[in-house]
Homo-oligomer: 423 residues x 2
């Protein structure tokens, strides 16, 4: 693959959350997978470089999905008339238990990876199941797809059905180490991430063991936090010694700091939890569609942005029914408006600029310098053709992007680059 | 066109709001455009009838859009960071003013009608602009498309910009009568509907004149009601002699009863307004996406269903950014969950069965016996191919429909019938 080239077209990207940078007929230079910046003219030193000419198309950074459950893709759009805990027991756990069967896992994971590959996502933080073999299979498929992913074998040793519960914390540790031995150095684009499911599914002993593994391997972790009133009440019962949910991770050093951490949801985070997330640099995966479908609520994203915290978007399939992060941007704006109207008019709704930032540079930061076209960023790019969304009036590049955020689907994606590779 | 035939496939339709009727490999008989019902086997008396074999596909009634603004289609998905009244002044009125130019209107309305024709909608209640010629042009285009529509030339003679305001109530009446003379008997599938924009745009004198026209022609009417806090406060100022917004229509006999009426939104209807809507048989067009995008709020649909009121769904383009009524079903469920969580947990979220009913039989009732496959109903049908939404497990017909509601787009529509005509 030529990883040194120029992209020419109508360019949109974020430097910060306030404002989308738009350039009509601009150039992005990619050298060895790294952006050298955005230019109005092709700089002299790059004359003769390979050029992808995208004429009227729109070029944006690849989108970042900070929270998605691969095994739940099979039942996306089904059985959403329940709240989180009932939904987990009725839909999720029985489905995830099937992934002990590698043939089932292969059939199901192929569909998930195909969807991700056809869509706008270039990087994802993915939950698998507790099964070592199926998780490795998912990682194999993701590696083939060219998408960059962090994938977690799930840890869960309590409050789970017999067929989806590790028999002991020790066994969970053994399996996790066996999985890490197999996958740590196997892939170029896919890496493991430690994945305790959530506090209700993990004994203290298991958290202790995960913490040891984390320190040994310097792995990042992903989990769930303060998603739903029923869940948060349960965590308070389970952890009488902690003042807030996040502390139940933090006491095992699995809450940011030296341990890069994604916490999904953060709908009901208390002031102290928010302060600790900020202090520890925890990444928040805002999952507006899932929080809506499971009647969880609406996260105070404005608060997180105002506090300059790390935050990106998650599809949270199958709490969310689509893997589309453009849809997550639109959803994030929409629910922020309803939150403003119904709950708290001190928190202004999100703008299109902010939502675009969240789905690109905001989430991308978990993967390094990712999610923008600024100089030094790993070049993930989407090329979008909006000609099937005709309009009778003139539109600016930014307006065209806005319509793509609300109206596009995989048909509009012409090309996709991940770290300088066209996939 | 053969209007007598059978459709064979997997059939889904509503008899009531509680339950979607699903039949695997069933038959719908259509005689002269009218459904003769749904059968497990082809009845003997119909042996030899023409048969459309749809094998694995799903067949549903056509979808009903009770509220859509054709001239706003051009700016769908744009500039939604505003509330209703600002949005009208900034985006809507300047765009609608362009429709004095027939060439612009033709270019824009072609796009709208093409979208509707490619989508799942078979009947729609449509706002045009105040322009007689452009409204007739829109009706010509809709007639050609085969979709059945009620289309309204808008009346507005106050609180509107110079270039989108009728000069007097008398002129508005004259134009409306001229329009009616031209269109009343012109079409087979398209009919006029009286369309006072909303109370803030219509003087008392204009309402009086519209009322006379309504009585003479026995036309139905469509307008807006109790959409947004700013708007409802304004109406209270404008109509100090009325106790609630709906009364401002009712005093001119333009609120149900002998005058079949659609009122869009009804987010902030008071108990007395609700009681009068019920008494008068007013149809509510619930527009969840628009009410979200314009930060209006969430209508208490559960209350309307529990009161056995007439209610259907509206896309409300361009308050809504899509014409899809499948999307409106999903949105209706989603916002009802957020309303339950954030505002009022006495009103249970909508189920998938209820949302499907709203988008088919609920709204269809405004057009007569429309929106179901029960015997005697005008046969509008959609044939949906969900094979591009693969799944590793077995799914029931109802589960497949549920996924289509959340995940389908125009690619999934194989065929569409309106009143027995394949279009």
């Amino acid at each position: 693959m030529k990883r040194t080239f120029a992209l020419r077209g109508n360019i949109c990207y974020s430097k910060n959350s306030d404002h989308i940078e738009c350039m009509e007929d601009g150039w992005i230079i990619c050298e060895q997978g790294i952006s050298q910046g955005v230019f109005k003219q092709l700089p002299d030193k790059y004359k003769g470089i390979a050029v992808y000419e995208y004429h009227q198309h729109i070029i944006t950074p690849g989108l970042i999905d900070l929270h998605v459950h691969a095994p739940q893709y099979s039942f996306r759009g089904l059985n959403m008339d329940q709240e989180l805990l009932d939904w987990l027991n009725t839909n999720t756990f029985p489905e995830e238990a099937k992934y002990i069967d590698l043939e089932y896992a292969r059939a199901a994971y192929k569909l998930f990876v195909h969807d991700l590959a056809c869509g706008a996502t270039t990087r994802a933080a993915v939950f698998a199941t507790l099964h070592v073999e199926a998780t490795e299979l998912l990682m194999d498929l993701l590696e083939e797809s060219g998408i960059r992913a962090l994938v977690g074998k799930v840890n869960m040793d309590r409050n789970s059905p017999m067929d989806l519960c590790e028999v002991s914390a020790a066994q969970s540790e053994t399996d996790t180490r066996r999985w890490l031995d197999r996958v740590c150095d196997k892939y170029k684009h896919v890496k493991p991430i430690l994945t305790p499911r959530f506090i209700p599914s993990c004994t203290d002993e298991l958290m202790e063991r995960i913490s040891s593994i984390q320190k040994e391997h310097s792995l990042s972790i992903q989990s769930h936090l303060s998603e739903n009133p029923g869940e948060t009440a349960w965590v308070r019962e389970l952890c009488p010694d902690t003042d807030f949910y996040g502390e139940a991770y933090d006491k095992y050093h699995l809450f940011g700091g030296a341990c890069p951490t994604i916490m999904a949801h953060c709908v009901y985070s208390s002031e102290r939890e928010i302060a600790l997330m900020k202090e520890r640099g925890v990444f928040i995966a805002h999952c507006p569609q899932s929080n809506t479908n499971l009647s969880s609520g609406i996260a105070p994203v404005r608060t997180y942005l105002d506090n300059h915290m790390h935050i990106g978007l998650g599809s949270d399939v199958a709490g969310g029914f689509t893997t589309s992060i453009f849809r997550a941007m639109a959803d994030a704006i929409q629910v922020s408006k309803l939150r403003w109207r119904l709950s708290d008019d001190s928190l202004k709704p999100l703008t299109i600029d902010e939502a675009f930032y969240l789905g690109t540079k905001g989430g991308g930061a978990f993967f390094g310098e990712v999610g923008s076209f600024e100089k030094g960023f790993e070049l993930d790019a989407l090329v979008l053709d909006d000609s099937s969304l005709p309009h009778p009036q003139e539109l600016s590049v930014k307006q065209r992007l806005e319509r793509l955020i609300y109206l596009s689907d995989d048909r509009h994606i012409v090309d996709k680059f991940v770290f300088g590779n066209k996939i």
